[in-house]
């Protein structure tokens, strides 16, 4: 087997990281090597999220790590948070997705839009992994256009009555609590969108695995149905208001995904480089051929560019000056880059590249989902188009 993963650092990126950021990265990297890599291939083939890893991830503080210590979180800066996502996705996009959803899409909205009681109740439990969360925004007919959602929340004397269906929900089946986004007004009133904390054991709430995935197989993806699902009045996130609220959550998640793409690309490059040195064809290592060197040079170049761009994005986020359009650029660039790197690595690996024993094809298949979720590549193209022209094409 290959040596332990030591990262890809052609431009001495380490010198741009603080000691604490490197230490966080090293902890996650070591955890992935020791606990995730031995089980991920089989989990992927079996189509099972490796649940047994949750307590270890929680104990080390991987969930909501950039939220404050007073709520049981690690209180890291956003660069360190990004490095966690990078290293988790070096292992598998599904595992990174799990942590992204728990932190950026469940803990973040409770932190940003919740009451103090909600924060004190939910955040420590979610950080400790004793509760698992999911984020119910996307609907069967409303993916890139979440503002069109038809899930409703009606205020009654007993509380809020939720009705609707959500689809492509990461962690849906294993979640004990869900952040559900619904319209409290008419279906064309996007300003009436509010968030609700819905425990999974609420009557009228059901989650069902989506079967037949050829991507993110080690991740739980589910459909959620809300049928006269009654939650207390204080289940609403009081500071949520309009489509902007879930989009703010998505900005957090996409920020982590941008880092994650680097991790997946590094894993593929590392595997391809190692294989190219060892695999002998026509009497010499394939790494000594120009075609494979071209692949490796392209991968290294694109990874290095993404590293520098994403670190600066993190520094802007920590300075409080990052704008969502910049996150779109990074998510769009990095995931597309990772898709290309995974495909080229798989090709360099030849026939061996289709085996689960190697990682590039698993990453390649995973990244097709990542390319499509959290704002498709095309939507981010249009967001950037709008940002520079001032003209919306969607």
């Amino acid at each position: 087997m290959a040596n332990a993963f030591t990262g890809v650092d052609f431009y001495d990126m380490d010198s741009l990281l603080s000691e604490e950021e490197r230490a966080v990265r090293d902890t996650v990297r070591a955890w992935v090597e020791e606990h995730l890599m031995p089980v991920i291939g089989e989990a992927y083939i079996e189509g099972e999220f490796p649940k047994q890893l949750i307590p270890g991830m929680a104990e080390l503080g991987f969930f909501g790590a950039n939220l404050p210590e007073e709520y049981g979180c690690a209180g890291l800066n956003n660069v360190a948070y990004g490095l966690i996502m990078q290293e988790l996705e070096r292992g598998d996009s599904g595992i990174r997705s799990f942590a992204s959803v728990q932190g950026a899409l469940v803990m973040y909205p409770i932190y940003a839009f919740g009451s103090e009681e909600q924060k004190k109740h939910w955040l420590p439990r979610l950080a400790a992994g004793t509760d698992i969360g999911c984020f119910g925004l996307t609907e069967p007919d409303y993916g890139s256009n979440p503002g069109g959602m038809i899930t409703t929340a009606r205020e009654t004397k007993d509380g809020w009555l939720l009705n609707g269906a959500k689809m492509w929900i990461t962690n849906g089946s294993q979640a004990t609590v869900s952040i559900i986004w619904a319209k409290t007004g008419s279906v064309d009133d996007t300003k009436s969108i509010r968030g609700f904390i819905v425990p999974a054991d609420t009557k009228g709430y059901t989650a069902k695995d989506q079967k037949g995935k050829l991507s993110l197989r080690a991740s739980d993806t589910s459909e959620i149905v809300l049928q006269d699902c009654l939650v207390p009045r204080d289940a609403i996130l009081p500071k949520s208001g309009g489509i902007k609220s879930p989009l703010m959550c998505l900005t957090q998640a996409r920020y982590g995904i941008a880092w994650g793409g680097i991790g997946a690309a590094m894993a593929c490059y590392d595997e391809a480089l190692s294989y190219s040195r060892e695999r002998v064809m026509f009497g010499k290592p394939i790494g000594q051929t120009q075609l494979q060197q071209s692949r490796l040079a392209d991968m290294l170049t694109e990874i290095t560019k993404a590293q520098l761009l994403t670190l600066q994005l993190g520094r802007l986020k920590d300075a409080g000056t990052m704008i969502p359009d910049q996150v779109s650029l990074a998510k769009r660039n990095n995931i597309n880059m990772a898709c290309e790197a995974a495909r080229e690595a798989r090709r360099l690996l030849g026939a061996n590249g289709i085996l689960a024993e190697y990682h590039s094809m698993r990453h390649m298949a995973n990244l097709e989902s990542v390319y499509t979720y959290e704002g498709t590549h095309d939507m981010h193209t249009l967001i950037l188009g709008q940002a520079v022209t001032g003209l919306s094409a969607f």
Partner: protein, 250 residues
């Protein structure tokens, strides 16, 4: 229970490395540094001893330049209580120089146990622990794989070739740690943040006299290429002859 753990900052020998132009040390370019492997086990052992005792402290100590503070903070991130850097321009190669500094620091510290890794993964001298014990005037047990402490005495197990040896000794004592006591825990993210706020004292190292100097280091020679001595049964006599006379395994 008061435990000191002496740790060394070493280059990661799993990465590719080169010998520097002076031929006496590794080329620092591209090296990554970390706590020496067995020293990580020693930190883990110290943390477990104090956790089992329910009270006490784990003090991590390292000799060397400012860079060793990063290694000390890693141990603080794992859960050590406080750290001491014994400042020296470089980490001396001669174990006696290091042991003198450590003994001077630790001898009046009131420690029940002073732990070391059984050897540093770069120099592999295995000397600093025993030398420190000698200078402190306390017993020393080396390369232990199990350790229990009760009523002012320690009981340690050592793995020998084909046998296990159990020794008992009075505290305070110096013990050097092999792998058996439990894998070093990873610093948690909260631990990493907390480490920044824990005390890290810096004092000049009272280094002992160094008698040893590295003359030169060299990489092992490349393995000679394999060769084909023949095919089928006809090749067997020659193969046996070479295994007897050249490889000397028969």
């Amino acid at each position: 229970m008061k435990v000191a753990v002496c740790i060394k900052r070493v280059p990661d020998m799993d990465l590719r490395f080169a010998i520097g132009s002076d031929g006496k040390a590794l080329d620092p370019a591209g090296l990554k540094f970390d706590i020496a492997d067995f020293d990580g086990y020693a930190v883990e052992a110290g943390l477990r001893l104090v956790e089992q005792a329910g009270a006490g402290e784990v003090v991590v100590v390292s000799v060397g330049p400012a860079a060793v503070q990063e290694t000390l903070r890693k141990a603080l991130g794992m859960g050590a209580t406080r750290a001491i850097q014994l400042e020296a321009a470089a980490i001396p190669f001669d174990g006696m120089a290091v042991a003198a500094a450590l003994a001077a620091e630790l001898k009046d510290g009131g420690f029940d146990l002073v732990l070391f890794g059984r050897m540093a993964t770069d120099s592999a001298n295995q000397t600093v622990g025993p030398m420190t014990a000698h200078l402190m005037g306390v017993p020393c047990v080396t390369a232990i794989s199990k350790l229990d402490v009760a009523d002012g005495r320690g009981t340690a197990e050592r793995q020998l070739e084909g046998a296990a040896e159990t020794v008992t000794f009075p505290l305070p004592a110096v013990v050097t740690i092999d792998e058996g006591l439990g894998r070093p825990r990873l610093p948690s993210l909260k631990g990493i943040m907390a480490a920044k706020k824990k005390p890290l004292d810096v004092r000049p190292a009272q280094l002992g006299t160094a008698s040893l100097t590295v003359d030169h280091i060299a990489l092992p020679p490349d393995r000679p290429p394999g060769r084909i001595i023949g095919e089928g049964a006809d090749a067997v006599p020659e193969l046996i002859r070479l295994l007897q006379t050249e490889a000397k395994v028969l």
